[in-house]
């Protein structure tokens, strides 16, 4: 959860987290009541915080006459919980890959009408389809990101040292007390499996207990299980090496040149945030128009420029400045990408098992 970053409002994954789903839900209900009275056309867009271009929504209204009612959520879990008892009125939501599957399984998502989204053609070939959503029946890609290691160069044993293995975070006392890792059970267990040479998916039970032992052993050396605010711990000098998302570290490097980024040699997790229409969306047609607009090259470039996450949109990418396109933190090299994997949704039972393992690690 957000900690220092919350106050700075730096990243999508942090802003509202601590205020919790309840507060967000209440404010949203109020907002909706307000707009349903208006006769003009509206799209209720529920997105991560600080995850849109500064003029995107106004430009959309200018182009189409449809206004956007913009609300935020702070985590996939919060989004899922909000939709559990039925759609409270959202038209477009932005779950990550694994949750696209989870929500589709739970029949929370509406099938997209691809004929209403011609800008799908702007997507790079590798994003035209997705393993977590075959045929892109429910989702269009919005941004994508990878997990890696952010570190403080001056605190490494030598100026040329690069912590290019998960070992330094998960299985070594070299940086004892100076480590922070993601406090999400699934991310932590999947990346531990990756470190052990296994895929992030389909981890067998025997390996899970090995991972549990390893993390219990490693726990005294880890300072905090952070809630996606690792870059703040790194920036404030609290830790020297963190497990974090690339966009967060890319932003930190702009603030502090002593920070660097590496994708461990064992490979890592890739995530994709997707545009979806939940079932019972009040304005499905306008929602399609809105998704189509977000996939427009110009609009996509405006968003990517602001939020500094990788865009799956080739038309948008072409419009971006050279230093963005060549930023290997935002856009890992093909060799690095070859070692990335999407974490698949493997059922509620597995999610509960991972959660219990994490509870045991924390309690040990």
């Amino acid at each position: 959860m957000a900690k220092g970053k919350y106050l700075k409002g730096a990243s999508r994954r942090s802003l509202l987290k601590q205020f919790g789903a309840a507060a967000v839900g209440i404010s949203f209900a109020g907002g909706l009541a307000g707009c349903s009275r208006a006769s003009s056309r509206t799209v209720n867009f529920h997105n991560w915080a600080t995850y849109i271009g500064p003029t995107t929504l106004d430009d959309f209204q200018e182009a189409t006459g449809i206004s956007v009612n913009y609300t935020n959520f702070a985590s996939n879990d919060e989004l899922f919980a909000a939709l559990r008892a039925g759609n409270p009125g959202y038209d477009v939501i932005v779950p990550s890959n694994e949750y696209v599957t989870r929500m589709a399984d739970a029949q929370m998502l509406m099938e997209l009408d691809h004929s209403l989204i011609p800008n799908k053609a702007n997507l790079l070939p590798e994003f035209q389809d997705a393993g977590f959503d075959p045929g892109r029946r429910y989702s269009m890609p919005y941004t994508w990101l990878v997990v890696g290691v952010g570190y403080r160069k001056s605190r490494m044993p030598s100026p040329t040292f690069v912590p290019d293995s998960w070992r330094y975070l998960l299985d070594s006392n070299q940086f004892t007390g100076r480590i922070a890792v993601l406090g999400d059970s699934a991310d932590l267990i999947r990346l531990s499996a990756k470190y052990k040479g296994h895929s992030v998916n389909g981890v067998p039970d025997a390996m899970l207990s090995e991972i549990e032992q390893m993390l219990i052993r490693q726990k005294p050396h880890i300072k905090a299980f952070h809630e996606d605010d690792g870059q703040d711990l790194l920036l404030s000098g609290e830790v020297d090496i963190v497990m974090e998302y690339n966009g967060d570290i890319a932003q930190s490097i702009r603030d502090d040149a002593d920070i660097a980024w590496v994708i461990p040699s064992e490979g890592t997790l890739q995530n994709q945030d997707c545009l979806c229409i939940p079932n019972q969306a009040p304005h499905p047609e306008d929602a399609h128009a809105f998704i189509n607009y977000l996939l427009d090259g110009q609009a996509g470039a405006g968003i990517a420029e602001e939020i500094q996450y990788a865009t799956p949109n080739s038309a948008a990418r072409d419009l971006m400045p050279e230093d963005y396109k060549s930023n290997t933190i935002v856009y890992p090299t093909p060799a690095e990408l070859a070692r990335c994997e999407y974490g698949a949704f493997e059922g509620d039972e597995k999610a509960r098992l991972y959660e219990e393992i994490f509870t045991r690690i924390s309690a040990a």
Binding site: D77, A363, A364
Partner: protein
């Protein structure tokens, strides 16, 4: 003349119905739903069957979760004890301050409530972290001491190593004490303020020292205030999740953190509900114990 409510039923109903309706609709009904979940079973990603199973409670009573309950009880108990030790002299000072100073002091106690808990916790992070104000102050003292030692011809102290004050259980207790102190001070103050001062004067006149007077006269008279202070500090501290989340380290997990994750990542509402209700049963026991102690004290008095 005082009227019994039976003689003014309409007026009584007019006053009582809205809050009772509110309480039933927005507190008891949702609570009953959650209680029903504790006997439910997940049959799909979003569907729960109310099968009357006790499996959720059985799982909540496994050693893993009992240990976390135990740990939460210890942390909440320690927090309450520290709040009492710090809060009692503060409440005493406020109760005996002049009327003008008293209102200012009470305002100072309440002031933190004007800020969101989250913001206050972030402020505490800014104070306690390695690049925080406590460490800045200590570093300044250290460097001055070091300079002084060189001045008088001794070896300087060397570089200052910042203290690690955050991300451990101590930080969690410090944070909880900071947040819950007003809950302790206010009931203590109201008990001490109502106390009959002549009893203290009598105690002092009859030769008891100040400490003796506090222990033998003030504390027993303030006992109901102490008991309610302990209760309303202990209960929220037991259910704290934000403070251990933000200030805690890798082994600072409290039961509320586990409950939160059941409703989120694990998507296991029945089990989360069972853990919550176990916490609530504990709370009821604490309240019953407090009522029992109070009644016993009243009977003796």
């Amino acid at each position: 003349m005082e009227q019994s409510w039976k003689q003014a039923k309409a007026a009584f109903a007019a006053i009582a119905v809205p809050p009772v309706a509110w309480l039933v609709l927005f507190f008891l009904v949702p609570l009953a739903v959650i209680w029903a979940y504790t006997f439910g079973e997940n049959v799909g990603p979003t569907t729960i069957d109310f099968t009357g199973t006790f499996a959720n409670y059985a799982r909540a009573l496994e050693p893993l979760y009992l240990d976390i309950f135990g740990k939460s009880l210890i942390i909440a108990g320690l927090t309450t004890l520290l709040c009492l030790i710090v809060g009692f002299p503060v409440a005493l000072a406020i109760a005996f301050a002049g009327p003008k100073l008293k209102s200012w002091l009470l305002l100072a106690i309440m002031l933190p409530f004007w800020t969101n808990l989250l913001i206050r916790t972030f402020a505490l992070i800014a104070v306690l972290r390695e690049q925080g104000y406590v460490n800045f102050a200590l570093e300044w003292l250290w460097n001055n001491a070091s300079g002084f030692m060189t001045l008088i011809g001794l070896q300087p102290l060397g570089d200052y190593e910042p203290l690690t004050l955050l991300y451990n259980n101590t930080a969690v207790v410090v944070g909880l004490v900071y947040v819950h102190l007003p809950f302790m001070v206010l009931p203590l103050y109201s008990a001490l303020d109502r106390m009959d001062r002549s009893l203290m004067e009598a105690s002092l006149d009859l030769g008891a020292g100040h400490m003796r007077t506090i222990w033998s006269v003030v504390v027993p008279l303030a006992a109901p205030g102490i008991a309610s202070g302990i209760l309303i500090t202990f209960i929220p501290a037991l259910g704290a999740y934000l403070t251990p989340d933000l200030l805690g380290g890798t082994d600072s997990q409290m039961i509320a953190n586990v409950i939160e994750r059941q409703f989120k990542r694990a998507n296991d509402w029945p089990f989360g509900a069972a853990l919550s209700f176990l916490l609530m049963y504990l709370t009821f026991i604490a309240i019953a114990a407090q009522a029992f102690i109070q009644r016993k004290a009243e009977r003796r008095g």
